[in-house]
Every structure is written in structure tokens, then in C-alpha cells.
Symmetry: C2
Subunit: 213 residues, 2 copies
DNA sequence: AAGAGTGGGTAACAGTGTTACCGGACAGAA
DNA sequence: TTCTGTCCGGTAACACTGTTACCCACTCTT
């Protein structure tokens, strides 16, 4: 049954659709990076690709669908960027490289970062499924922390706990810097100080009580 | 010359304008809190107040002007909220109360917090002047840190440095929680752990090197 | 080759920020 | 008092936005 339904035509069409889908996502990405989120209109993107607006609705189901695809694309790029961080001689150096890569990505692609973490596309909020999918790219950070725990370089907390607070710290610093509250030099100095401060209790294992003491 | 220009009529008119201005801001605030940022349209706000859209343009110079006024209003409310934090027996308790008040405000008024820190109003970015004005409300935190430094409860950093990293940490945690990456219980636990971790190096004075060691 | 079904272009809808136009209300002058 | 000028504000339009009903052409089936 299903063998027959997979005719060459349908395959070609499906392949064609995927190609068109990728082209639209590429165009949207290009627009976002070069002209900012304000240029992300259905008409503008379809004009860039050379199709009508209808195609975006059939392929993505509307602007929200396209926004969600773009959102996930941002996390995929983020993941590739974090994976490219040099492992270094030990687990802690690797983790620090990842921490540097985090800020580096946010500053290189500020609009993408805003889309991912600050609702950069006006009316869009990701679906719970997409959010869970996105949080998966955060597993890289958890793995980095876990390696440090395994090698005895960190103590006093679970991998998820430490990774969470580290993520919160990185995001907070980068987010305020992108919002214009700190200039580049200030941002970098504060970013390093913050990340070091957050990690320092887990270096000695002398972790403070969670009741904010 | 200038004495004459300040006629009673102009004064009355200006007073009237201030009243209308406040009414518009109130209506916008009410809409933001009760129906979210999507309801913040010029037509909707003017309908709520009972005037035409033109008034908003003469009084605020456009939606950006109104957004900026709303933005600053958010910081004013934030400041009042932080000022209401109980001083407690010592400077450190006071600072912790402020830390609690920060998250409490963000969770009570998530849309306002998004407007202030996450570009909640679509096309709007605050002017540098407004941003500086807003950062002034952050002086409360600096003052709280300074009191702790003066009483020898914190060491190893300047008031601005410690306040900055604390702000980054609080904002990062709250921001990710508002974005839906953590639920309420998780958010609270991580928030406390993060703030405690950030402060802990400055409790002992054993501050890590800023080169992220 | 005729029929059926689907994808995509056109053009319209409602709603957005913004502004040109014009009317009317108020001030001061004759 | 009446006339004139100035300025505030309502109406209605403009150029946008996301979205969709309609229709055509093109494909596969029979």
C-alpha cells in the first residue's frame, strides 16, 4: 500500500517542497541578520524568495509557523556554534570555551539571539513542543558540566543545577548587554566576573544554602 | 517677554494636557497588565481614554513616545516596589529582601517586565537618554550593595561591580523563567541558588580572577 | 483524452501606525 | 461686541501588516 503511494511524482514534489522550505528559511534568516526583525514580513520574505505569500501559508501554516521554524533554526545554529568550541586539555577548559562561545554567538547574531530568548518576533511565542526541542540544545552545557563533575573539577551540585544557574548567568549578562545597558568592554568584564563567581562555589564544593544566604 | 507668554490659559491648557497624558498612560498600563502587549495599539488606547488617535500624537509624538513613557513608568513602579522591601535588621538582610522583591515584581507584572527588559513592545527601543534614566532606578541595588560593603558584609569588589553581576544574575534567572524555560518552583530554587552563588565569593572576599578561572 | 484534485497567484479583508485636512473653540484687537 | 488669528483635535485617508477566498493551471488517474 504505502509502497505504491510513494510515487516518483510525490517524492519529487515533497523534495521540491523541502527545497522551497529551506529557501524560505534561508531568506528569512538572511533578512533577520541583515535588516533586523522588522523586515520579517510575509510579503517581504515571499518577495525575496520570488514566490507569493500563499506558499508560506501552505508550507508553514502562517507567520507563527515560519517564526517557530526560524526559532528552531536559531537553536540549531547555536548548537553548531557551541559544538565548535575547542575541547582543550581538560573538561574545565572545554566548559570555559563553551561559555566564551555563548557570548560570542549572542554578540555576533544579536537579532537571532533576541528571537530565541527575548521574543524578537513580535507576536510569536514558541509552542511547548518547540521549547522543549530548543532546550535540548542546552544539553551540551549540561554535558560539559557533567564532564567536569566526573573529573572531580566541580562539586556540590547536580549537573542540571549547575548548568541551569550557569545558563541563567550567561543569559542575564548577554541579555542586558544586548539591551544596551552595558558597552562591549564592560559587558565582557562583567560576563567573566559573573561566570567565575557562579562557578566558584562549585570549585571548592562550598556551596551556599539555596535559601539565599 | 517670557513672563507674558505664561498666561493663565496656557497654564490651564498645560495642566489639562498633563491630566490627559496621565490618563492615557494609565489606560495603556491597564491594557498592558490586563490584556497583554498585543492590545497596546494607538486606536485601542485612544478608544479606552475616549479621545481620538491624534491626541496621542500631539502629546507623545507617536507610538514610540508613548512606549517610552510606558517604559519609564515601568521603572518607576519597579523602583517603588524595590523601595518597599523591608530593611530588616542589617544591610545584608535588606539586600536579600531587595533580591526577593526583584523576582516578585517580575512574576507579578510579567508583561511590564518584558516591556522593560525584553522589548515587549514590538518596534520600540528606548532612547539612550531614557535608558540612562531607567538605569538610575538600578541605583537602589548599588546602594544596597554599598551598605553591605560599608558594614564589612561584602568584600572583594566595587559596589558597581557586585551590583552589576547581581543584576545580571537576577535578570537572567527571571528572564528565562518568564520565557517559559522553567516552572515556578524550579525557577525559585534556581533563582535562590544563583543569587547565593554569585554573592558567595564576595562574602569570603575570595573573589575569582575575572579571566573566568 | 477526459476527469479529478491539488498547489499557487491575485486580490481582497480587517487591522496597524501615521498624517493631511478641516472645523471649531479660544485668545487678543478694534 | 465683533472680528481675526492661532492652535487643538476629530475624520478620513495612506501605506503597511497578516490572512484568506477565489480561481487558474498543472498534474496524475482512468
Amino acid at each position: 500500500m504505502f509502497r505504491m503511494s510513494a510515487t516518483t511524482y510525490q517524492q519529487a514534489q515533497r523534495e521540491g517542497q523541502d527545497v522551497v522550505r529551506a529557501a524560505i528559511l534561508d531568506a528569512a534568516t538572511h533578512l533577520l541578520i541583515t535588516e533586523g526583525p522588522a523586515s520579517l514580513t510575509v510579503r517581504r520574505i515571499s518577495a525575496e524568495v520570488g514566490c507569493s505569500t500563499k506558499v508560506i501559508y501552505t508550507l508553514f501554516g502562517g507567520k507563527d509557523g515560519l517564526s517557530e521554524a526560524l526559532w528552531l533554526e536559531g537553536f540549531a545554529r547555536f548548537e553548531r556554534r557551541l559544538l565548535a568550541a575547542p575541547p582543550g586539555p581538560d573538561a574545565m577548559t572545554h566548559l570555559r570555551a563553551g561559555i566564551d562561545a555563548y557570548r560570542s554567538y549572542a554578540l555576533d547574531q544579536p537579532d537571532y539571539y533576541r528571537v530565541m530568548f527575548q521574543g524578537g518576533v513580535p507576536g510569536f511565542t514558541p509552542s511547548p513542543a518547540a521549547r522543549q526541542e530548543a532546550k535540548r540544545s542546552f544539553d551540551l552545557l549540561v554535558a560539559g558540566v557533567r564532564r567536569c563533575l566526573a573529573h572531580g573539577l566541580l562539586h556540590g551540585g547536580s549537573d542540571a543545577e549547575i548548568a541551569d544557574v550557569l545558563w541563567m548567568a550567561m543569559h542575564g549578562a548577554v541579555s542586558l548587554e544586548l539591551a544596551g545597558f552595558f558597552d562591549r568592554a564592560e559587558g565582557e568584564q562583567r560576563y567573566r566576573l559573573l561566570c567565575a563567581s557562579v562557578l566558584s562555589p562549585f570549585l571548592t564544593g562550598d556551596v551556599p544554602d539555596a535559601r539565599c544566604s
